[in-house]
């Protein structure tokens, strides 16, 4: 019999050898070494800045000097609740909700076809068909819509060719959603938002639909359900976590965007634009910070709801 000490190999020696042995013997040390750099980076730079910003929302701005008064106060939040600011918040939330619903409706057939019927080459095509627009340049996509919605652009040209210009004008004459032209109306803003965030809805919806067993759909129709009933009672509930996962993106991205409504839309502000205006020319960092709290709170609530619906498993 050998003594127990022989069972343990001698150390490797050398700087790297010793280090390697130490890390293998102490998994906690290894874990610490691996986690320290990313946590320091994200914790210090990202969370640090985030908390610094949130803290500033509890300061206020001196109305006479325009300087920030470093005293804890809720005055800035009172300012946030003025009717004009509440308008901005309501407008943004309504836009985010409509964009999310529209994306869900447009994304579903694409995702369903890709998940259920596309095979082989078509499957790859559909996947890339959602991936390429997702990753292609955000500004280029907005620019493309500026070209499309311009007065002399392709959309007006198509309407003119189809002799439907009157229809377009009737639409633009509607209150709220209309305007002088498409590129300065809420309809234009809405179209661009849907276009830009749609791929974020397709991919999670497709992932959820891939997991729906075909046998369930067959069982449903064997039991006498019409396609509409199968959709309503089987497919939709099973796809819902995926749709909610996608809606996290469409909702959050619309809430915080300030570039799309600035380039295509009326001059009435969205939350993102209000934040941008207050921190920039106005120099009112406390109010800008208070404005950023709105999407954070809405998204926190939204994520909590999504988690209860099991949406995170579909991401």
């Amino acid at each position: 019999m050998t003594s127990p000490s022989h069972a343990i190999l001698p150390g490797r020696g050398g700087m790297f050898g010793t280090l390697s042995d130490a890390l293998w013997r102490n998994p906690r040390l290894l874990l610490f070494v691996m986690l320290a750099p990313p946590l320091l980076w994200l914790g210090v730079i990202y969370l640090g800045s985030l908390f610094a910003l949130l803290a500033q929302s509890f300061f206020s701005i001196d109305e006479f000097s325009g300087l920030i008064r470093y005293e804890w106060t809720l005055k800035t939040y009172a300012e946030l609740l003025r009717p004009s600011n509440l308008d901005i918040i309501a407008r943004t939330v309504i836009m985010a909700v409509s964009v999310t619903l529209a994306s869900a409706v447009i994304a579903f057939p694409i995702a369903y076809f890709a998940a259920r019927y596309a095979r082989g080459k078509w499957k790859a095509l559909f996947y890339l068909g959602a991936m390429l627009p997702l990753w292609s340049s955000y500004l280029v996509k907005i620019y493309a819509w500026k070209l499309i919605l311009a007065k002399e652009g392709i959309l007006n040209w198509i309407f003119a060719k189809l002799h439907l210009t009157a229809l377009l004008e009737a639409w633009l004459a509607l209150p709220v959603i209309g305007g002088n032209s498409l590129s300065v109306s809420y309809t234009g803003t809405f179209l661009v938002f849907v276009y830009v965030w749609l791929p974020y809805m397709i991919l999670p919806t497709q992932a959820a639909l891939e997991r729906v067993p075909e046998s369930m759909l067959e069982a449903s129709s064997d039991l006498g359900a019409s396609p509409a009933q199968t959709f309503r009672h089987v497919l939709l509930p099973l796809a819902l976590p995926g749709i909610i996962a996608g809606s996290i993106f469409t909702f959050s991205l619309t809430l915080g965007d300030y570039i799309i409504p600035q380039i295509i839309g009326s001059s009435r502000l969205f939350i993102g634009q209000a934040v941008y205006a207050h921190q920039g020319t106005a120099g009112n960092i406390p109010l800008a910070a208070a404005f950023t709290v709105v999407p954070i709170v809405i998204m926190g609530f939204y994520l909590w709801m999504a988690k209860r619906q099991g949406a995170f498993d579909a991401l």
Binding site: W24, L39, L50, S136, Y143, S252, Y258, T292, M299
Partner: protein, 271 residues
């Protein structure tokens, strides 16, 4: 979902799916036509004529080259930082169970889950508080922060499929930790890292919202584009730049797709 060879898609579904895809792709194709239009002053459709002269004009514009160079440098450095941080984080999260593991995933995703304007304004006010002047490095700092998540996602997915017994086997056979990393771990996660890196590059190359807050006087290519969008000066040049940006971002995305496509077949995946 199992394949059902007899199933045919209903016509309505086919039309809706094709229409959706057309809606996604036609606007981008439109950019390609506009890059060759002879019309300078408006966005007239159909283009009155086609010309390639704007390619040459754009080629000779120093401000475009400067913006492009800055964007590439920022994206390259942010990608390297994000790859190191993202891989470390993914390795830690997928190898071990520890207290607060879920929180770490949340922390990594947060910079991209919260609207970009929040990340941007938070960083800007932090730089102001700390008296850090805006520079190349402040842009990198912002970009690396939200690029970590794409590398992390790719690496975590691959680590999950790679068997940990491979590492144990390597250690049992006498390799030290660094050799195991170099010869066993790295070849297995290599393509996932490369794909994550390419996506991080594309993300950083294209980012504008955070950049407007963390850049001082420098203009990255997206900032240059944004200026042109708000106050158009020379529309044809913008058209050409937009086309080039589309082409440049497509390549890494396609490459990333082909690299991760075969990810199911990594060694030891069946364990």
């Amino acid at each position: 979902m199992r394949s059902d060879r007899n199933a045919r898609a209903p016509l309505g579904l086919k039309i809706a799916a094709a229409g959706g895809l057309a809606f996604l792709h036609l606007p981008i194709l439109l950019i390609f036509v506009y890059a060759f239009t002879t019309e300078e002053k408006s966005y007239q459709w159909p283009p009155p004529g086609l010309t390639a002269k704007w390619l040459a004009v754009t080629w000779n514009r120093p401000d475009v080259w400067e913006a492009l160079g800055l964007s590439v440098r920022v994206a390259a450095i942010s990608t390297v930082v994000a790859m190191v941080l993202g891989t470390l984080c993914a390795a830690a999260v997928s190898r071990t169970r520890f207290f607060g593991r879920e929180t770490i995933s949340l922390l990594v995703i947060l910079p991209i889950a919260l609207p970009g304007i929040i990340t941007g304004i938070a960083l800007r006010s932090a730089f102001n508080i700390a008296d850090i002047p805006f520079s190349f490095w402040t842009i990198v700092l912002g970009h690396a922060t939200f690029c970590v998540v794409v590398v992390y996602n790719n690496a975590v997915a691959r680590f999950r499929r790679t068997s940990s017994s491979l590492i144990e086997a390597s250690m049992d056979l006498g390799a030290d930790g660094f050799q195991t990393f170099r010869h066993v771990v790295l070849p297995n996660i290599g393509t996932a890292l490369l794909a994550g890196g390419m996506l991080a590059f594309a993300l950083s190359f294209d980012e504008v919202i955070v950049t407007t807050f963390t850049a001082g006087q420098q203009a990255t290519l997206p900032i240059w584009m944004l200026e042109e969008l708000v106050r158009p000066r020379q529309r044809p040049v913008t058209n050409v730049v937009a086309m080039v940006v589309v082409l440049v971002t497509f390549l890494p995305i396609l490459a990333a797709y082909y690299l991760t496509r075969d990810g199911d077949r990594v060694a030891g995946a069946g364990k």
